[in-house]
């Protein structure tokens, strides 16, 4: 098996995303795009995870593209932030355009997973979506704990805790004020939902992202094969598991014929050891191999 690595500068408006397409000499009908997590790490990823990921999938007959978000690695442009409910769908679509396979499969990690979910509904020819540790809540980078506490703590405890961390310099720091505004909006939303819960159908998981649920519902409705993969030690899995008590559980039941849930030991989100990285790749590869060819159903 020979694989050809082809570097590409993918046009994206006035910018260019750096990508590498790993192309096997014999390709099947499904091509894969690896959507990275939101962060500073660039295409090879730690321990060359994305490098190995792409080559293993290519060796199994799946042409695979890995790329950098704008403002990361060799891509041009500037990244403002990574916010789970503002996925970079147009960037991912640009990367997707490199693949000329009949079916395109999105494999995303964390922010990349949420981007894949947001794309699947609006993009033609998506043959499957593999979601590695997708958070079920919405938050901006760095706001994860604070936004969880908005639901968990009473308003008084939450505000008291926030005031303790406040310093005079915070009040003249625009970025800090913006963050307070963001977290504050989550608090208001959380308390409003808790207050009005008696007038609606009971929802034991009001903190679960509406976007996450509606996008997953779209995947279930359209029958797009979906893999949800979590590590049992990570917070994302604990929240996913808790969320199954609410609407998510009903959705997963409805989608049981197309949604596969895999839980592996350790943390799929961090996937920091080589063993963990290889395990995640193996699980994704197994799932990909089981996908039907387009039009076979």
């Amino acid at each position: 098996m020979t694989i050809v690595d082809r570097p590409v500068f993918v046009p994206f408006g006035d910018e260019a995303l750096f990508a590498i397409a790993s192309e096997p000499d014999t390709a099947g009908p499904h091509g894969v795009v690896l959507l990275p997590a939101g962060g500073h790490t660039f295409t090879p990823q730690g321990n060359r995870w994305a490098f190995d990921f792409a080559h293993r999938l290519a060796a199994a007959g799946f042409p695979t593209v890995r790329f950098d978000w704008q403002g990361i690695g060799d891509s041009t442009g500037v990244v403002e932030t990574f916010t789970l409910h503002q996925p970079a769908t147009t960037e991912a679509e640009a990367a997707l355009s490199i693949l000329d396979t009949e079916s395109r499969v999105l494999v995303g990690q964390c922010y990349g997973a949420r981007t894949a979910m947001a794309m699947a509904d609006r993009t033609e020819g998506i043959g499957g979506v593999a979601l590695l540790a997708p958070p079920v809540r919405d938050f901006a980078r760095g706001d994860g704990t604070a936004t969880r506490q908005a639901y968990e703590l009473s308003t008084r405890d939450f505000v008291t805790q926030g005031l303790r961390r406040l310093s005079p310099s915070t009040l003249i720091d625009r970025a800090q004020l913006e963050r307070i505004g963001r977290v504050g909006r989550t608090l208001v939303r959380a308390k409003w939902r808790q207050l009005t819960a008696r007038f609606r159908a009971p929802d034991p998981t009001p903190w679960v992202s509406e976007a996450f649920l509606s996008q997953l519902e779209g995947l279930v409705r359209s029958g797009v094969p979906t893999l949800l993969l979590y590590g049992e030690e990570e917070n994302d899995y604990k929240e996913f598991d808790e969320a199954r008590a609410g609407k998510l559980g009903e959705l997963l039941e409805r989608g049981s014929s197309t949604v596969t849930i895999e839980v592996v030991p350790g943390s799929a989100h961090a996937a920091e050891t080589v063993e963990m990285q290889q395990l995640v790749v193996s699980k994704v590869e197994e799932w990909l191999v089981g996908l039907e060819a387009p039009g076979a159903a």
């Binding site: 500068f9 397409a21 962060g39 730690g46 190995d52 690695g73 980078r141 800090q176 063993e275």
Partner: protein, 292 residues
């Protein structure tokens, strides 16, 4: 079950090019499988700058800074070349465990292929040790961003990071146990990646000052919360001066970890950080003075 990685043959496809009004950037693989990203000015090139990156998490942390500096260099008239060492980054080819020698050979090869014009190296962290090794053969100016000055101290920091990670995970390995794992396992997970013992053993006995030969100028760059030059950096500068090397210090107020809490508690893109502007301008000014 984890499947072992299959042995694959990966070949390099055609290079990719993007063009702007100021520069042309090409990414492609050379005959040894190294990924080279060459950024060339539209105007006639006044010299070539080759980047000597670090490894492991330090590569991930600093690569974007190198990308921005190489594009700024091209806009200022230099040809800039970023090289992914063999066995590192997006380079293809047979598996290679990087050592200071393989890194130095990669940089030397790239310089050899860059033509006749004047050349300088911009090195980051561990890349500084490889760049110093290059000077045994090629006496070129080098700018060193937060260089590893003392390999032994770098290893100590890695061991400390391992111990801290063990504690955070609820374990409790001592420094001696971590060193023992290097001896028995041949590698330890540190700095976000697997760090091979062979590399650690090699780096542990190195000193940037002892390795530095030649007489071409050196720029030592530090980035810290204060612009006060750290004693270790000042010692390195005076040590280089004692060897007859024209050494300067560029002290920049900024955060080495560019994606965390730069603006209070908020992410500020590296492109808009004052430290980036100061770094790029400072290095380019020095290159224009030093490259001949």
């Amino acid at each position: 079950m984890t499947k072992p990685t299959r042995r694959l043959e990966v070949a390099g496809g055609p290079a990719a090019t993007r063009e702007t009004a100021e520069l042309v950037e090409t990414a492609g693989f050379d005959d040894s499988g190294r990924l080279l990203i060459r950024t060339v000015p539209r105007s006639p090139s006044i010299g070539t700058v080759v980047f000597a990156s670090s490894l492991f998490a330090e590569l991930q942390q600093n690569y974007r800074r190198e990308v921005l500096l190489s594009r700024a260099a091209a806009a200022a008239g230099f040809t800039a070349v970023r090289v992914h060492y063999r066995g590192v980054g997006n380079s293809i080819g047979p598996p290679v465990t990087p050592t200071l020698d393989t890194m130095a050979d990669d940089i030397t090869d790239v310089i050899g292929d860059s033509g006749d014009g004047p050349v300088a190296i911009v090195a980051t962290r561990l890349g500084a040790l490889a760049a110093a090794r290059v000077r045994r053969k090629l006496d070129v100016p080098i700018a060193l961003w937060e260089p590893v000055l003392d390999g032994g101290r770098w290893v100590e920091e890695v061991v400390k990071a391992c111990v801290a990670r063990e504690v955070a995970k609820g374990g409790g390995a001592t420094a001696d146990e971590i060193r023992g794992r290097w001896a028995t396992d041949g590698a330890v997970f540190a700095l976000g990646e697997v760090v091979p013992a062979v590399f650690v053993d090699e780096v542990a006995d190195t000193s940037l000052l002892d390795m530095m030969t030649g007489s071409a100028p050196v720029l030592l760059i530090q980035m810290a919360r204060s612009d006060r030059v750290r004693p270790a950096v000042e010692r390195a500068r005076s040590g280089l001066a004692d060897r007859g090397i024209d050494a300067e210090v560029l002290s920049i107020v900024g955060h080495q970890v560019w994606w965390l809490k730069v603006g209070g508690d908020q992410f500020v893109p590296i492109e808009r950080q004052e430290a980036t502007t100061v770094l790029n301008q400072g290095v380019l000014d020095w290159l224009k003075r030093s490259i001949t």
